[in-house]
């Protein structure tokens, strides 16, 4: 019995390790590929002299692709979308957690339902509209459209954080002579700070990773890394080391954030399932 149990446990660990090889090997392989010198890309596989040339080319704009600029663009539009979503999303989340009012559930569902709309349905009209309004290929245009990704996420997750706070805390503050505004800013908001931090980073990652919006609504000025990384695949001669380096550089911010706040991210991602 115990021998059999130990054997099964050992088999389970092996199965788990196999899955994680599948999950992590592509990332490791990109690191290897990005460090290969251009003349060894097609010859040997695991023995080569590592070089940072690939990164130097990608970050030095030398293939005519301004990758650093795309990186900065991604930062600006992702942070912009998150900040704007927080400013309008936090009051909405608070209101829907504290008051049961007419149509509240419908309003909230409408917000969430945008997650399920095919992006191209709104992008094509926006493409036409942006051309007319001069928002095409601008930060403002990108930030506005990235709300579709960040706002529902922030409202839905923050709503459960606010719902977890007992209303008595704010009521006590009101009795102490705080105004309702002060009660929100000085009592409720500080208590959900960890939640705000986690959901902001999650929303940032989703905005950063978006591809369809920048693909169609930007061309050069406001283009982001997800579209930029793809341009290294083009051209007549495939430059695998450059593509790998660009792909890796573009995943550094989300991966770093994910590792730092791993615990909260899992909470955010699994919120819908555990709380229903």
């Amino acid at each position: 019995m115990t021998v059999r149990k130990r054997l099964l446990g050992w088999l389970a660990d092996v199965a788990l390790i196999l899955y994680f090889v599948f999950a992590l090997f592509p990332i490791a392989w990109m690191v290897i590929l990005s460090l290969k010198p251009a003349n060894q890309l097609f010859s040997t596989y695991f023995s080569f002299t590592p070089t940072l040339d690939g990164y130097r080319t990608v970050l030095g704009d030398s293939e005519g692709i301004p990758f650093v600029r795309f990186f900065v663009n991604s930062l600006v539009v992702s942070v912009g979308a998150v900040v704007l979503s927080l400013v309008v999303g936090l009051p909405a989340a608070y209101a829907s957690a504290r008051w049961r009012f007419k149509g509240s559930e419908n309003l909230m569902f409408t917000l969430l339902s945008f997650r399920f709309a095919p992006e191209l349905t709104v992008i094509i009209p926006l493409f036409v509209l942006y051309q007319k309004l001069g928002l095409f290929d601008t930060y403002v245009g990108m930030i506005w459209v990235l709300q579709l990704v960040t706002l529902p996420l922030i409202v839905w997750i923050m709503r459960s954080y606010f719902a977890d706070l007992t209303p008595e805390l704010e009521q006590a503050a009101l009795l102490d002579g705080y105004s309702r505004k002060q009660a929100f800013f000085k009592v409720a908001l500080p208590l959900v700070k960890p939640g705000i931090a986690a959901v902001s980073l999650l929303a940032f990652i989703f905005a950063w990773n978006n591809f369809v919006f920048p693909l169609i609504l930007t061309s050069s000025e406001a283009q982001t890394v997800t579209v930029g990384a793809l341009s290294f695949l083009g051209g007549d001669r495939p430059k695998y080391n450059l593509t790998a380096a660009a792909a890796l550089v573009s995943v550094v911010p989300p991966l770093l954030l994910a590792l730092t706040i791993q615990r909260y991210l899992v909470r955010g991602l699994s919120f819908g399932a555990v709380k229903s």
């Binding site: 660990d13 999950a23 592509p26 008051w99 036409v128 506005w144 706002l151 990773n209 991602l269 555990v274």
Partner: protein, 293 residues
């Protein structure tokens, strides 16, 4: 007490709604466009009413795309569910190996799907890719992964599985950790085997949690775009032209704007119907699970 001011919640929600309307407006505009024959070659469009939709439904290209989309969504969601639940069960055993690996489970999920597709595209190159290199000892050195119709579909599903299996695993793991322990203890006392416990206890109690993940994955896969765009661009031929790719080709590449939007409206309607059916099913299952507890 004191929470009676009914106007306040509306005031607090208005900014979020206004921003949302900023998106609803183009959606309505898009719907309106589909009633015209608006395209690059016809900037002054005529009202054609439902002609665009008639064309969509009578085209073989649409039915091919619909079929490919369903194959992709069902395939990806099914593999992710089975694999994700398996990974969650293995992690739930909480061996030392499991505890270490659990911390990095989330990593593929944090990589943009389009970047994941780029990574896999490099790995799947027939002659110089690492996958075929590793398969060589097994006599499979020259598989044309993304250059054959079946291979291209399977490869894109594989990328989806690589990115999103952790999502299902995380939800399933959260579900497993919130299950009551007493039924399992009782089963252990009765000497129930692993398979019996899994089939009679774990799975029925876990299913409501997993179903949320399945619904999210199925709906997201129905509107897949980035993975296919980067990996195959719909090819070879039109073997991986899912509906959003078709809409992109029509509207952006061939600049038949209203016709392209009609495709996305049809897809939107399908996703909504699927959502309604699945969410209702979810409600029933959750109620049953709550009663069983």
């Amino acid at each position: 007490m004191g929470w009676r001011l009914t106007l306040r919640p509306y005031v607090l929600i208005v900014p979020a709604l206004l921003l949302t309307c900023g998106i609803l407006y183009p959606f309505g505009l898009g719907l309106y466009y589909t009633l015209f024959d608006f395209s690059a070659s016809k900037p002054q469009p005529d009202m054609v009413r439902f002609e665009n939709y008639e064309t969509v439904f009578t085209q073989d290209a649409f039915w091919n795309s619909a079929w490919v989309t369903v194959l992709y969504a069902v395939g990806a969601a099914a593999v992710e569910t089975v694999l994700g639940v398996a990974v969650a069960l293995l992690l739930h055993r909480s061996s030392i190996v499991g505890r270490v690996l659990e911390k990095i489970l989330i990593l593929p999920l944090m990589i943009a799907p389009v970047i994941a597709a780029i990574i896999w595209k490099l790995m799947l190159q027939p002659s110089v890719g690492v996958v075929n290199h590793l398969l060589k000892p097994f006599g499979l050195g020259g598989v044309q992964w993304t250059d054959t119709p079946a291979g291209a579909l399977l490869s894109s599903i594989a990328v989806d599985v690589w990115v999103y299996t952790p999502f299902v695993a995380i939800l399933a793991l959260a579900g497993l950790r919130s299950l009551p322990t007493s039924p399992f203890e009782a089963a252990a006392v009765d000497g129930a085997g692993w398979w019996y416990t899994f089939r009679r206890l774990t799975l029925p109690m876990l299913w409501p949690y997993v179903l949320v993940a399945v619904i999210f994955r199925f709906m997201d896969s129905l509107k897949v775009f980035d993975i296919i765009y980067a990996l195959t661009e719909g090819g070879p031929g039109d073997s991986t032209v899912v509906l959003q790719i078709r809409a992109y080709l029509e509207a952006i590449r061939f600049q038949r704007y209203s016709f392209g939007i009609s495709y996305t409206i049809v897809l939107w309607a399908v996703v909504y119907l699927a959502a309604m059916v699945l969410v209702r099913h979810l409600g029933t299952i959750q109620r049953k699970a709550a009663e069983a507890k």
